[in-house]
């Protein structure tokens, strides 16, 4: 199976985050690491390959520093890597990111001579993490499926081959799961914690240096999908301790709740 796994570099979990004074983002003086669910997507991809052969391509879109997570993926066993290099000041939303990744996959297919015109660039499986630890949109994988014209399933806990396709287990709310079969190629967004992550071995780290890591400047992809989201301001939540307890019969509580929401201008048109 030919698998591409999309990885994002995010601020390290333990990094003390600080918004920029103008609220346009966070300060860059923090450590970065591979987004946690993406690490599980990579693990799943490597296990698929070990079980059934094929190729694992690690892909990221991000500034120059994001190459570090691709080297990590190569050290753990990915065969090659694609880095869509964005300018440092670029802030792509999920739609623009998905458009760029889709373009890169199609371009990869034509350059590697795979079935031209195939939607997913000749990949059988496209994996992403469920969501990113920094923005948390959980949209990139879904939008990417739309761009590639492929079926998708989200919050995947388990994957098994079934006929010419896959049987996957999705996590729903409240301890429920859904099991479904899907055809290939497909896009799956992977949940954290579904396997134990492997360590890169020293041999893996050494060999990773000789594996191909292609850097493609974003502008070379010729995608001009504009962001459809705009971040107004990033700020630390204000601590306000104003809990109001509403007691009484439900209809009364509902009415008073509405009043409070209106008074706080939290309803549209209020």
């Amino acid at each position: 199976m030919k698998i591409v796994v999309c990885l994002k570099q995010v601020p390290a979990k333990d990094a003390p985050l600080r918004p920029l004074p103008d609220g346009s983002g966070i300060r860059e003086d923090v450590g970065y690491e591979m987004n946690e669910p993406d690490a599980y997507a990579l693990e799943e991809a490597l296990r698929r390959k070990e079980a059934g052969g094929g190729e694992v391509v690690a892909l990221t879109l991000g500034p120059e520093r994001a190459s570090q997570i691709l080297r990590e993926a190569l050290a753990k066993g990915a065969d090659r890597a694609l880095h869509l290099v964005s300018p440092p000041e670029a802030r792509l939303d999920a739609a623009a990111t998905a458009a760029a990744i889709a373009a890169a996959l199609q371009r990869d297919a034509s350059s590697s001579g795979a079935a031209a015109g195939s939607a997913a660039g000749g990949f059988d499986l496209v994996l992403t993490g469920l969501q990113s630890d920094d923005m948390g949109f959980a949209q990139t994988g879904v939008l990417l499926a739309e761009r590639l014209g492929l079926p998708h399933a989200t919050i995947i806990m388990q994957i098994e081959p079934a006929g010419s396709g896959l049987r996957v287990k999705r996590e729903l709310e409240g301890g429920f799961f859904q099991s479904l079969e899907m055809p290939l190629p497909a896009v799956l967004t992977i949940q954290s914690g579904i396997h134990k992550l492997r360590y890169a071995t020293l041999l893996g780290i050494k060999q990773a240096k000789n594996k191909p890591l292609a850097k493609i400047p974003l502008e070379e992809l010729g995608v001009d999908t504009p962001n459809c989201q705009r971040m107004l301001r990033l700020f630390v939540p204000q601590k306000t301790k104003k809990t109001i307890m509403l007691d009484g019969p439900a209809p009364e509580i509902a009415a008073r709740l509405l009043e409070h929401l209106r008074a706080a201008h939290l309803l549209p048109g209020s």
Binding site: K13, D29, K196, Y199, I205, K206, K209
Partner: protein, 553 residues
């Protein structure tokens, strides 16, 4: 257990200034060699560097004011390293502190004069050197701890490499499903560049029964980075302080260095050689910030980073043998630090560079004995000259600050000799006195306010420390019974005070009191490895990748 083997030309343990300087210089020597001897090329990928931090630089913490001489020798295109934002020292001052006042010394003593030096971040310096070494073709293994030296079976004095730590062991030492055994990295040359109190360095000295003239001596440096309102403390300003809050008998002092971006590096060094087992270097540092002068400076600012690390201060007479069969020791691990100037980065860089020269001779000419030339080059070269001249400085403070300053003056007149050729020294943990000999009332515990001053756990959050929780404990207490039944009465468990990361906690009441360890808090400062009065704590490297994340420190 089977350990996979990997052959190399050289294994360098530790990606600090010493280890990285060694790797980078050796890569250059390989390039030159390959130009001159294309018939027998050397492979730069066989230069291996191991780093236990998650990335090179993650465990590097320093002040830091750097003497640039060694850096210039290592990186001749000095200008290129300007992206590192080295800040030239603009002005410097030394203050003697009392609880209320700060008296500027009329003249900055020559060792603390810092013109032509640079205020830097050693974390950034490490990241930069590592990237450069990797680009040159060196192999760096991040998140990889060396855990023991390996010796030739038939020549037990000859090192044949190191073993790296297993990964994926649980609390009880059982293999988890993602277990990976450590590697045996085999090479004719091993360089131990582990920094202060290296674990392999300690094992090596024990195995070969080698020792320095004086025992090794250490200080603990506790540091924070603050961001201040613009214009409060210019980048490149360098302040040192003496006195308060340290009692006159306590060796140490404070620093405040101006960094770019309205930030300051602020910290306090406390020598780990005191009588009172309740001494708490972290609390001293917190008190330091409440000095009116310092408080005014930090007012309205915000804490950004925290960390702590030991500093070898024994100097010339605490230097162990530096080389032997198949091994060399460089940097802080060999005690190469000028405690009078609180500077070791330049000596680490220089020793790493010298180790590379010797390693090249040993590797390219297959002449292992050339490693001994390294020891000679350090002792008789610029490093040795600098350390020999201040050999008695620290020991002169044996009887406290005033006597120390008198000795220091005398030593300056006698080119380092002072009253004696060698001032004796006593290992820090042997100086600790039982509680019974201490004033009955314990010092009032420090009450942090959460704005200017912090407790250890609050500070720890700013160190970015993280470990795999389910792993064998990396703080090995040989006999926990001693902690509960002897130490608690005799010394009151000093580990809970000297540890700057709240690893050691006493829980329970009265007869039920016992010591609880929180190894995940550990910032790898190594204090407990030598400072407990019974010598029963051994610090071993935890699973590679664990530890602090000293971004910008």
């Amino acid at each position: 257990m089977q350990h996979p083997e990997m052959q190399a030309d050289i294994v360098i343990v530790g990606a600090g200034p010493a280890g990285l300087a060694c790797a980078l210089r050796l890569a250059e020597l390989y390039d030159r060699h390959n130009r001159e001897h294309p018939d027998r090329p050397l492979q730069k990928e066989n230069i291996l560097v191991l780093e236990k931090g998650r990335e090179p630089g993650a465990h590097l913490l320093s002040g830091a004011v750097m003497d640039p001489a060694a850096w210039r020798r290592l990186v001749p295109d000095f200008e290129q390293s300007q992206e590192l934002a080295f800040t030239p020292v603009a002005d410097d001052a030394v203050f003697a502190l009392t609880a209320r006042r700060a008296w500027p010394l009329p003249l900055t003593p020559p060792p603390l004069r810092n013109h032509d030096n640079f205020v830097i971040s050693v974390n950034r310096l490490g990241q930069w050197l590592a990237a450069r070494a990797e680009a040159a073709g060196v192999t760096i293994f991040p998140a990889t701890a060396a855990v023991e030296p390996l010796w030739h079976r038939d020549q037990p004095q000859k090192m044949r490499g190191v073993r790296t730590g297993d990964k994926g062991l649980d609390r009880d030492g059982k293999q988890k499903s993602n277990f990976e055994p450590g590697y045996d990295l085999l090479a004719p040359v091993t360089v131990l560049a582990e920094g202060s109190r290296g674990s392999l360095t300690r094992q090596l000295l024990e195995t070969l029964k080698l020792a320095s003239v004086n025992p090794p001596l250490y200080s603990l440096g506790v540091k924070e980075i603050w961001e201040l309102p613009a214009g409060r403390f210019p980048a490149g300003r360098v302040w040192h302080t003496l006195g308060w809050p340290l009692p006159p008998s306590q060796y140490g002092g404070g620093w405040i260095y101006g960094l770019p971006g309205n930030r300051v590096s602020i910290g306090l060094v406390t020598a780990l050689e005191y009588a009172d087992p309740r001494t708490d270097p972290h609390a001293y540092f917190q008190r330091f910030k409440t000095h009116p002068r310092v408080r005014a400076l930090l007012q309205g600012g915000e804490l950004r980073r925290y960390g702590a690390k030991t500093i070898p201060i024994g100097g010339w007479d605490s230097m162990p043998p530096l080389a032997g069969q198949g091994w060399m020791i460089a940097g802080d691990g060999a005690g190469l630090l000028n405690s009078q100037r609180l500077k070791g980065i330049h000596l680490a860089l220089e020793s790493g560079r010298l180790a590379a020269e010797a390693a090249y001779q040993a590797i390219a000419l297959s002449e292992p004995r050339r490693l001994l030339e390294y020891a000679e080059a350090v002792r008789s070269g610029v490093i040795g000259r600098e350390l020999y001249a201040v050999r008695n400085f620290h020991q002169g403070f044996e009887r406290g600050l005033l006597a120390g300053l008198a000795h220091a003056g005398l030593q300056m007149l006698t080119r380092g000799r002072g009253l004696r050729r060698r001032y004796p020294a006593v290992a820090g943990h042997l100086r600790m006195r039982p509680l019974a000999e201490m004033p009955a009332a314990p010092p009032a515990p420090f009450q942090p306010d959460g704005k200017l001053t912090f407790d250890k756990l609050a500070d720890l959050y700013y160190s970015g420390t993280r470990h795999e929780e389910n792993q064998p404990p990396h703080l090995q207490v040989r006999d926990p019974g001693i902690c509960t039944f002897r130490c608690s009465h005799e010394y009151g468990n000093p580990c809970q005070f000297f540890c700057p990361a709240a690893v050691y906690e006493l829980i329970g009441e009265g007869g039920e009191r016992r010591l609880q360890l929180h190894p995940s808090n550990c910032v790898h400062c190594k204090t407990c490895d030598f400072m407990d009065p019974y010598g029963i704590i051994t610090w071993v490297p935890p699973e590679g990748g664990g530890g602090p994340n000293y971004e910008g420190m």
